[in-house]
């Protein structure tokens, strides 16, 4: 394990007090958006984590939804309102289901991975949409959480939930960042480049994909719990493929360069959406689609590559230049 913190990790850790502080200064509506986008941001970074291995999940909404519904059902049927317990249950549900599904999904790559993740998430969508006990397509509401027996009210409840969202969200981001920098995380990048070679070198690509899948799912489920609590509502749209598509969009736009960029991207997008939907409700998807197309064509490594010409960008340019020189020499 790495002992020291790198720049990203320091930034993430510093973000915790900064965000909490901002919670008291900024106007309420911005704070709300930060809180909501931290929830969805966790799903976006888990999509990004899978993208590092070259896997595009068009069904990450599945675990987002599992997290949200687990928290909701725990409150509705078991009367559990403790935030820590809800987070734990949500994460556990995501972990257990993804562990089982992982045995199936780890055999797939590329478009088959995309389509199978989509199919599985749509199964849940169909299931929830027709379950009347859970409110069918309308979903149901969640009660506000308590904290180890402490149940704050009014303003205090809002701040408590905000703080309780910031800390786990950023810690999850830190965890995923650590994972991506660990040997196992680098195996993921190797799988994207050349899976056959990974196998020849004696590492199991299946195992690596499985671990990545489970980790991403657990983090998404936590995101789902936080999001559901922030909004106080869950519905089956959480696992519709169009929702999952938005997470893919964020990952494409912000690039796979750094874990912070999807988090930040989610927030910016959330803010833009508010205005875009107000000014011109029927062109929001048109904008998203065009931006995505332009990003893919002109900025294949996402917006992050503009901010920081990271080592991976340098590596590819190096690779290109050596290739060029080879071609000229031959």
């Amino acid at each position: 394990m790495m002992k020291s913190f790198d720049r990203t990790e320091v930034t993430l850790l510093l973000c915790i007090p900064v965000l909490i502080g901002l919670g008291f200064i900024l106007p309420q509506w911005i704070v709300n958006y930060i809180q909501v986008s931290l929830g969805t941001g966790l799903v976006a970074i888990s999509v990004m984590t899978q993208m590092r291995s070259g896997l595009v999940s068009f069904g990450q909404g599945l675990f987002f939804c599992i997290g949200g519904y687990t928290a909701g059902m725990a409150g509705k049927f078991l009367g559990i309102s403790d935030l820590f317990l809800l987070l734990f249950l949500g994460a556990l549900a995501g972990l257990a289901i993804s562990f089982l599904l992982g045995f199936l999904l780890r055999r797939y790559r590329e478009i088959f991975y995309a389509m199978l993740t989509l199919a599985v998430s749509m199964i849940l969508f169909g299931l929830l949409s027709s379950t009347e006990e859970l409110g069918s397509t309308d979903g149901f509401n969640l009660a506000s959480p308590t904290y180890l027996g402490w149940s704050p009210e009014g303003e205090m409840a809002r701040y408590a939930l905000y703080i309780a969202t910031c800390i786990p969200a950023l810690l999850c981001a830190l965890l995923l960042h650590r994972y991506l920098r660990s040997p196992m995380g680098f195996v993921g990048e190797a799988i994207r480049e050349n899976e056959l070679r990974v196998e020849y070198l004696g590492t199991s690509a299946h195992k690596s994909v499985h671990i990545t899948y489970v980790l991403a799912a657990t983090v998404s489920a936590i995101g789902g719990v936080l999001w559901a609590l922030a909004l106080g509502h869950v519905d089956p749209e959480m696992t519709n493929w169009t929702t999952s598509g938005q997470f893919v969009f964020i990952s494409i736009l912000s690039g796979t360069g750094n874990i912070i960029s999807p988090l930040f991207g989610t927030f910016i997008l959330e803010i833009i959406r508010v205005y875009a939907v107000e000014i011109s409700p029927n062109t929001w998807q048109l904008m998203i689609g065009s931006i995505m197309l332009l990003t893919i064509i002109f900025l294949p490594k996402g917006l992050w590559s503009l901010i920081q010409p990271s080592s991976s960008v340098v590596r590819t340019t190096l690779k290109k230049s050596t290739k060029d020189s080879k071609e000229t020499s031959s």
Partner: protein
Amino acid sequence: MLTAVAISLDGLGFAAWLFLASVGLTLIYGVMRILNIAHGGFYALGAYSAAWAIGLYTQTGQTIALTYLIIPMAALIVGVVAGLTIERGVMRHMYGRDEVLMVLVTYAIFLILEDVTKLIWGTDSYIAYQPAYWLGTIEIFGIPYTVYKFLTIGIALATGFILWWGLTRTRTGKLLLVVINDREISSALGINVTLFFTATFVIGATLGALGGALTAPEISVVPGIGAEIIVMAFAVIVIGGMGSIGGAMIGALIVGFARALSVHLYPPAELFSIYIVMALVLAIKPYGLFALSEGRKI
């Protein structure tokens, strides 16, 4: 007995609809290796344009019979205009790129098409029941069925036959099979691969639009039908094996009957029965029931 008849007729009806909606998708994948999410957009555009045109036409009070011409015309116009624009404007710059990247590109186009549809036709629903109503109904074992449904089944069969015949019995079709087999060699042999790609994309888009246009009289055309159909079409072509037209037919039958079964026996399962079937088939035969095994080229 009655239920069995109802299930088989409904199953056939669903299957015909699904086949028409997904055959263009499998064709484009088979030839170009592009999993075209924008196909849902073509479907929606086809449905809207047909419903809108039928609405305009019936207001004039002329005979309904001509609406059966409007449907294919609408599909053709949408397919050629949207297909050509997208293929020439975007797709051709992306050929040879990663398959996953192409999925994302078509997803972006899908999002754009969704809003283009809304910008042209607004968010209201369109209802163009006249063509389906005009043909009347027939009773089979006491259950009334619209003749239009049988017309759809006929068109689905005809479309499948024409595609099969075109691919295996004509010179152009055989050349296309060569292109599918090896893009590089066929272009070295002097086949205009680019032209084949453009033509395939336009045909695929037209078929998608036709699927939408033919369905328009039976449903109320609302925003979001494209997003709905594309996942079902995925299920269909994945079950049959992507790129195989016969596979799409079998896939459509399986999904159609799965849906008809759940509609009649256990309605709440209607939506997820389709994906359950898809996931099961994928779990057992990952690359679909009829996918050809592909040899490694290197």
